[in-house]
């Protein structure tokens, strides 16, 4: 009996050893860039399992290389604030000089970020902000007003600045959507767009089937409809698919906010003339530059401070969309059949 038991224990011991060996072997391939002089920056995405954040990290690593800093990109599987907390704790203990973070729950990471700040770690948020009291500067992908004007221009260009247009939004209550629609309406008052008429705002609730149904409704109710703006990744994809099914590609133009990987085939088929988002690599690049300058003492978060972010040019610390201090990457990047193959997220 004892013999069997020893066998079992030996098996467990072997198992544990194997796991440790596995972990050690895997750690050899971990994503730290070569150790060198300069600052140590921890780049913490919402999760490492979404391509968007991998794109952020490519830009971030490029910036770190230019600046002579060491950058570590790591994050959780689950897209929650609490899942990020152990990463914040460890980064602070490991002596990282700065944490650059995009978070799905600004409140949940705030206590951990403050503990890290108390140890001297500088925190820069990007993409999705934390609570303002737990970071130095927020790097925003764009600004609401820029999204509004850019979307109107994107559809105007496709329809020759003339004709009826509609908006396919997400939820009636979605604050982001409503702010962007407000800025679209303001933009439409400009003389350049005087021949364009907004006939309807439909709501697809960010559900593919409901968004497709609403698109169908727009096509039937407005025979003179020339274009649709759908400033949601779910809506624009569903609308493109619906236009394709109804054989309306090119007859009714489409733009919106979308992901290149979702929209590639529709753009190539002519079902969406263009659509927008921001350059995710540039966003990671800019956030890393901001973190570097915060560490160097060049940026403190005072409104009006300026700095040069490598190949992106000069930026200013400002108030944007009621939030401060913010650095804004710029107007959305418009994807077209010509440039879409350069982007993979």
């Amino acid at each position: 009996m004892k013999h069997r038991k020893k066998l079992g224990l030996a098996a467990l011991a072997a198992g544990v050893t194997l796991i440790i060996a596995l972990a050690v072997a895997l750690s050899a391939g971990a994503g730290t860039t070569k150790r060198q002089a300069g600052y140590k920056i921890f780049f913490l995405p919402k999760t490492t399992t979404i391509p968007v954040f991998t794109q952020n990290s490519i830009g971030a690593k490029r910036a770190a290389k230019e600046l002579g800093d060491t950058l570590t990109y790591n994050g959780p599987t689950a897209v929650t604030g609490p899942a990020q907390v152990p990463f914040i704790n460890t980064a602070a203990r490991q002596g990282y000089n700065a944490i650059v973070i995009s978070t799905p729950d600004g409140n949940a990471v705030a206590p951990a970020l403050k503990r890290a700040a108390a140890k001297g770690v500088k925190v820069v948020s990007y993409d999705a902000d934390t609570r303002p009291d737990s970071r130095v500067i927020f790097v925003a992908p764009t600004a609401n007003s820029l999204i509004g004007t850019s979307q109107v221009e994107a559809i105007g260009k496709q329809i020759g600045y003339k004709g009826d247009i509609a908006i396919l939004s997400a939820n009636v209550t979605s604050p982001n959507q409503n702010t962007w629609i407000k800025f679209m309406k303001i933009a439409l008052k400009k003389p350049k767009y005087k021949n364009m008429k907004l006939v309807k705002i439909a709501y697809g609730n960010d559900e593919p089937t409901e968004s497709a149904k609403q698109t169908q409704g727009l096509i039937q109710a407005y025979p003179n409809l020339k274009g649709i703006i759908s400033p949601t990744t779910v809506g624009v994809q569903a609308a493109a698919q619906e236009l394709q099914q109804e054989g309306k590609c090119g007859k009714i133009k489409l733009t919106g906010l979308g992901l290149p990987n979702d929209m590639r085939k529709y753009v190539k088929a002519g079902c969406a003339g263009n659509f927008a988002l921001w350059n995710e690599q540039d966003l990671g690049y800019l956030a890393t530059y901001v973190a570097h300058y915060v560490l160097a003492g060049k940026l403190t978060g005072k409104i009006g401070e300026t700095f040069k972010a490598g190949h992106l040019g000069t930026y200013k610390v400002q108030v944007s969309d009621g939030n401060k201090p913010v650095v804004v990457l710029g107007p959305p990047l418009v994807f077209t059949p010509q440039n879409i193959d350069k982007y993979h997220f």
């Binding site: 020893k6 467990l12 750690s27 959780p76 689950a78 203990r93």
Partner: protein, 355 residues
């Protein structure tokens, strides 16, 4: 007992192996980073996983009774959003927390009634409630969050005492482990669990109130998920419907790696506590090594499988002296519960089951 006998006994215990594992992973983490072996890091190692530990303590009772409750993380989420909604409506934070505990216990009780009274398989029942409770959490709070909790409350999860070094949450975990350990290993209720887990029919014939005890363990598991929720919100300062998402793997791993037999009837509270430390330490070490979240999940998942396989081999060793024991053990695992019981008369009376 001779010194050699004592050493042999200690060596033969699962808990000893866990301690060895903790030391081993500790040495590995230490070689990775000079920051691992600091008092601050060591004391704070388990803090982010205290809520996982509290759920694991509750789940231990369920698994020892031969059942499983995979709805614990969803129960936590519902409890947390109810707590948050009641607090946001202006109720005192502590009263709201107690209401959250009541909700969690009720959800656990619902599991228990379905399993214990209707006699349905707990894996299927709690898989259903895992999804249903998660949905319920979103229905109650939507995608919003509540975060305006007072510091006097958030200190239960995120506070530190003794020169800002000792996490309050750790003390809460140890307190509950002690109390629940006593309930499990000293009381009659605890003995009932082991008896039911080892052989439910035999327990029924020897007069154990099987139905009532099975309902109670699920209610207890729900209550512990609620308590985990209170600490969770305290630590993170934020209550949302996605609370505890992704933590189920760590909870189940802590229980099974802690030496609790996945088929019931065997286990110790100390083992579960040590396994939790090992899981937390392993995650911490992997983070120091900058190993990504998905890879961490692979390692923890493999650890869970290794624990199940090793447990099976050990059980084979306990019940038979015939050589192909390990193989038969594996086979029994495949064939399932009934075959297992046929060759294992009763683990409860076995002197080598570690109690």
């Amino acid at each position: 007992m001779t010194a050699k006998g004592l050493a042999g006994r200690l060596l033969g215990r699962w808990e000893t192996l866990l301690v060895a594992g903790i030391v081993g992973v500790g040495i590995w983490s230490w070689t990775l980073s000079p920051f691992f072996l600091t008092r601050g890091n060591l004391l704070d190692l388990v803090t982010p996983y205290v809520f996982v530990g509290l759920m694991a303590l509750g789940l231990t009772f369920v698994v020892i009774a031969g059942e499983i409750d995979i709805s614990v993380a969803s129960t936590l989420a519902v409890s947390v959003v109810c707590f948050a909604q009641i607090f946001a409506a202006g109720v005192n934070v502590w009263l709201a927390a107690v209401a959250g505990l009541a909700v969690a216990t009720a959800l656990g009780l619902a599991n228990g009634l379905l399993v214990g009274i209707l006699n349905l398989p707990s894996l299927a029942i709690t898989l259903g409630t895992l999804a249903a409770y998660q949905g319920l959490a979103y229905v109650i709070l939507g995608g919003e969050g509540v975060a305006s909790f007072p510091t006097s409350y958030t200190n239960v999860g995120g506070g530190y005492i003794a020169g800002n070094q000792l996490p309050v949450a750790l003390l809460i975990l140890l307190g509950f482990a002690l109390v629940l350990g006593l309930v499990l290993h000293v009381t009659r209720f605890g003995r009932y669990l082991f008896t039911i887990g080892a052989n439910r029919e035999a327990a029924r014939f020897s007069g154990v109130p099987v139905g009532r005890v099975r309902v109670t363990v699920f209610a207890l598991s729900g209550l512990m998920a609620g308590i985990a929720g209170v600490v969770y919100v305290g630590y993170f300062g934020s209550a949302r419907a996605d609370a505890a998402t992704g933590s189920l793997l760590d909870v189940v791993t802590a229980v099974v790696l802690g030496g609790v037999d996945i088929f019931g009837g065997v286990g110790s509270m100390l083992g579960v506590l040590l396994a939790l430390v090992l899981v937390a330490e392993l995650r911490n070490g992997m983070q120091l090594a900058n190993i990504g979240g998905p890879t961490q999940d692979i390692v923890i998942g493999v650890l869970l499988l290794a624990a199940i396989v090793a447990g099976n081999l050990l059980r084979a060793g306990r019940t038979s002296g015939f050589f192909p024991g390990p193989i038969r053990g594996l086979r029994r695992g495949v064939i399932g519960r009934q075959a297992d019981e046929a060759v294992r008369p009763s683990n409860v009376e076995s002197p080598e089951s570690g109690r």
